[in-house]
Symmetry: C2
Subunit: 297 residues, 2 copies
């Protein structure tokens, strides 16, 4: 069975491990702080790859940033990582094949092949973390759009320029549905600029009235976005992943989405492919598992 | 060359004509008022079909309402048409094959094969009329979702329950971007409940300051929606069709969308397949033109 060296590249951490064709993690999870410069990131990649290159068939990289349709480079800029990073020549990093995919797209693929949306041709996956990521599966294929950047969860929730989004535009789903969004909602409702997402989650767990009000507003903002996605994509399921997803009530979201949409009933479910779904999905995509139907049936 | 009897079914009018495999209209355009009851609609269909059945190869119906993935029935309810209409057994209407598709999906296909998005693998088409319709082309295929209902332009523009949408939910794109939306925006800004979309368009054409302000607000609401669609779909183009599309400034929309999106540059263009693009697209889909690649190259 083939093996991939899988690397997950985020703005603060870089992970690596070994993944097999079943999507199983068969190596240690190694964790690194994301270096501050392009050169140091490249050195870290070279070190990881040198260590494992001989024992794997392919290098599978799950990264922040939109990835092109030839899966070898990043499109545009990527926010919280060294400025030159998007210019990385990934293919030059190894004599083995190198495959790159956006982290949310990779995670969506992991859910599709071994996780919460397994067996479903059409699904939308959303990662709710510090930010929001999106990956869309259409007719059992990862949906990339004309250049590979599709699935960005930057659609507007308001038209009055209320919150500036990390993308530079205003009032995107991301700046309401993310952990950052929860903090901003908490600040607005509590009038306390020091309040943290931890305060909200802890208070909500202990039935604090104000914290529950804040939590519910955040969850209903997520709901508003899911209704639009269900109407646009008529998906089998919407999968919620990421550190903030564990708190949401998927029964409530499923019921509420289905009450409002004009398309056919869907379900909102939590991700099942685990914390390293980006690395798993990147490896499965790199192997071509499911991409050409190998995983069907 | 094969010929289709094409029928377009809307809430107020039903049209029929003959369309060939090139997407050319080769018959007269016949226009009927949409009858008020299921039985009368069925009688009208039977009359049209009886008249042309012998000279065509297939019956292609472009209809209001979401159409299932077997293209023979309507999903759910359809708004402004006789209540029983969605239960129509289309296949029983003729001894020739009967093919049914949603009107906006059919129009999107016409644009993809012979119109504004010809040669583009990925596009989003929006009809701006009394309501708003949507049709999405992904990787040269009509995107239908799990049951056929995908592409509904009901995503939220606000979260404060400001305008009730025709779908029963609140603040969907449709209730801002449609002609109905323009009238509501005009009422809000002018404080005049008698104002019509005609007043706005006429005043805007004559550089009236208030009417121009109203028009620009309406166009910027459309822009807000297009930004979200461009970020979700990374399309080659967004095609605007329908009676209200002739007024919008696609250069302004293209420039503004591209300034705000995190995906790659797209373009906003006007439809080119004409007023009967629904019938043309339904016929082309019924023939399978483009569906299996026949129209490629």
């Amino acid at each position: 069975m083939r093996k991939a060296l899988a690397i997950d590249v985020g703005g603060t951490k870089i992970y690596n491990t070994i993944v097999n064709e079943k999507g199983e993690i068969i190596g240690d999870i190694e964790k690194h702080h994301t270096p501050k410069t392009f050169y140091e990131i490249k050195l870290l990649f070279q070190g990881i790859i040198k260590k494992y290159e001989d024992e794997v068939d392919i290098i599978a990289i799950s990264t922040c940033g939109a990835v092109n349709n030839s899966n070898d480079g990043i499109l545009g800029s990527t926010g919280n990582i060294a400025k030159g990073y998007p210019d990385m020549d990934f293919k030059s990093l190894s004599r083995k094949p190198v495959f790159v995919e956006n982290d949310a797209n990779a995670a969506a693929w992991a859910e599709h092949i071994i996780g919460a949306s397994k067996g479903m041709p059409d699904s939308v996956m959303i990662t709710l973390g510090t930010g929001v990521g999106g990956g869309i599966i259409i007719n059992n294929r990862l949906f990339k759009g004309k250049n590979g950047a599709a699935g960005e969860m930057h659609f507007k929730m308001r038209m009055d320029k209320h919150r500036k989004c990390t993308c530079g535009s205003w009032d995107c789903f991301e700046i309401y549905a993310s952990g950052t969004g929860l903090k901003l909602t908490a600040e607005e409702i509590s009038k306390n600029p020091e309040i943290t997402t931890y305060n909200v989650i802890d208070g909500w767990k202990n039935n604090d009235v104000l914290m529950t009000q804040i939590f519910n507003k955040w969850q209903d903002d997520i709901l508003a976005g899911l209704i639009g996605l269900a109407n646009l994509f008529d998906p089998d399921a919407i999968v919620l992943s990421g550190s903030m997803a564990e708190f949401v009530d998927t029964d409530y979201l499923t019921k509420s989405v289905n009450e409002e949409i004009v398309t056919t009933p869907t379900m909102v479910v939590k991700a099942q492919a685990g914390n390293y779904s980006g690395m798993i999905g990147a490896a499965l995509l790199a192997f071509g598992i499911g991409v050409y139907g190998e995983a069907d049936g």
